[in-house]
Amino acid sequence: MALALAEAPAASIALDVEGVSHRYELDGKELKVLDNVSLTIAPGEFVALLGPSGCGKSTLLRLAAGLETPTTGRVLEDGRPVTAPNPDRILVFQDATLFPWRTVRGNIATGLEARGLIREREYRIDEVLELVKLEGFADFYPHQLSGGMAQRAALARALVNDPKLLLLDEPFGKLDSLTRLRMQNELLDLWKSAGFTALLVTHDVEEALLLADRVIVLSDRPAAIVAEVRVDRPHPRRRDDASLIALRRSLLETLGIAHDV
């Protein structure tokens, strides 16, 4: 039965953001980060949120993860309001944020331990280690890993919980460009095989176009949706694909950096 659980593709969920605005209070001043954002993500869809740095994209992910509740509006998973964090919706940060006192295996085990599932699902750790190609590094500590390996370990730490929604906050932003390309392909493979819904925040137009079914462009802070582009090319996509290049040009124009690029 346990095997069947592992082999069956993890279920995915729909995410609805309904008229969400969000404010932070900083030193008594109000900082408005999200302005009436609404979007609907179908189960199993891969959506990229594209926007300038510091525009509030990450806040949207934190709301979807349930780490915060929006000032106004609602965030719904399969129609139910998101009120608290839940391992069905896992956030992967730009920094791998591995626990430095735990080995790679220990880090991956965190979610299972926290939910008391470690005994019955311990075998999943080896499965995801293989999935992210870290089989030989299970007993390494985070400081012994390269940036790419650490980010893979962070992905494995999320995937071992069979998330239905994977929230990715610029997960490859700090990797060197070669590692980034490789990791993008790996993420795509994982998404295809595991079947979760993916919401990727990025400021890399190419990354968004290579990976996502749909790219949503956000404005500068307070973030509002300014454009939405459907990418109908089959995977694997080539970055010199003519239609992708055209899309890239139009997206950059929307972002206000069109000339010469």
Partner: protein
Amino acid sequence: MSTAVEETFGGAGRRSLALPFSGIWRNGLFAAGTWSLAAVLTYGLPDVITWGATELFAAVTLAGAGIFLVLSVTVHRLGGVGRTLVHYGPWFIVLGLWLAAWEVLTAKLGWLPKPFFSPPQGLLHVYVTDWERLLICIAYTGRLWGLGFFSGILVGFAGGVALGWSKRFAYWGMPLLKLIGPVPASAWIPCTFFIFPSTFHASVFLVALASGIPVAILTAAGVSQVNRSFYDVARTLGADNRFLVLKVAIPASLPNVFVGLFMGLYYSFAVLVVAEMLGAKFGLGWYLQFNTAYSAYANVYAALIVMALICAGLVRLLFLVRDELLGWQKGIL
């Protein structure tokens, strides 16, 4: 001779690597020489001031010289212990010289007079004649220190976690801790007499206070400085508050906790003498005060050496525990 010695000292590091395989440990021979010198001087020169245990001290240093003589050919067969011995070779040489000079300046020439200075034979005399009382004192101090230190760090650690974790706890606790922290332990003696049923309890409290406060302060700082995203990650992975405290906040702050433990350990030793002022009948602190009052400084020095050795041993032990628990830091620091 002087060039040879210089070579010996300058080349200590290199030699310790090369020597174990080359037959004779030269520093061992030198150490045997300096220790025999101490023995000969002790036995040969007449005592200006009587301290006792002259022959015994000569015999001990001679035995030491003999051991170094044997070691100088066998040390390379002793593996790890041997390598450590070889590493400290220059120390053994100097120790022999130091013992010889110390003997001559005190017992043999009388330049450093009784009762303020004691030759090594005087200390040996104390150990030989007063060992029973010293052992009892060690046991009493051990009980007081053990109870005080461990209850102190336990309460300090738990309090520190609470202070670092809970805002409300910190609101009330932090100002108190900051007020209490710098107050010297002896200032508490009047209150403790009133509060505690016996002087022993009061002493335990003083030791606990001295060791617990640095642990509490550093644990609180450590817990409150934990990277917030560790909590975010753990929460999205399904962690509850209990998990966040036990599996995130505490391991993340452990490096800080150990700094507090080291400080607490030193403070607890410093406060032992004060704590044993409170009507103790035995104990190293009591022994120090008692013998100071009678100007028996040889006894004082003898007890001080014992205390220093115990403290150094405990520090070493704490290092071992730290290395065991914080092995993940290797390469970060």
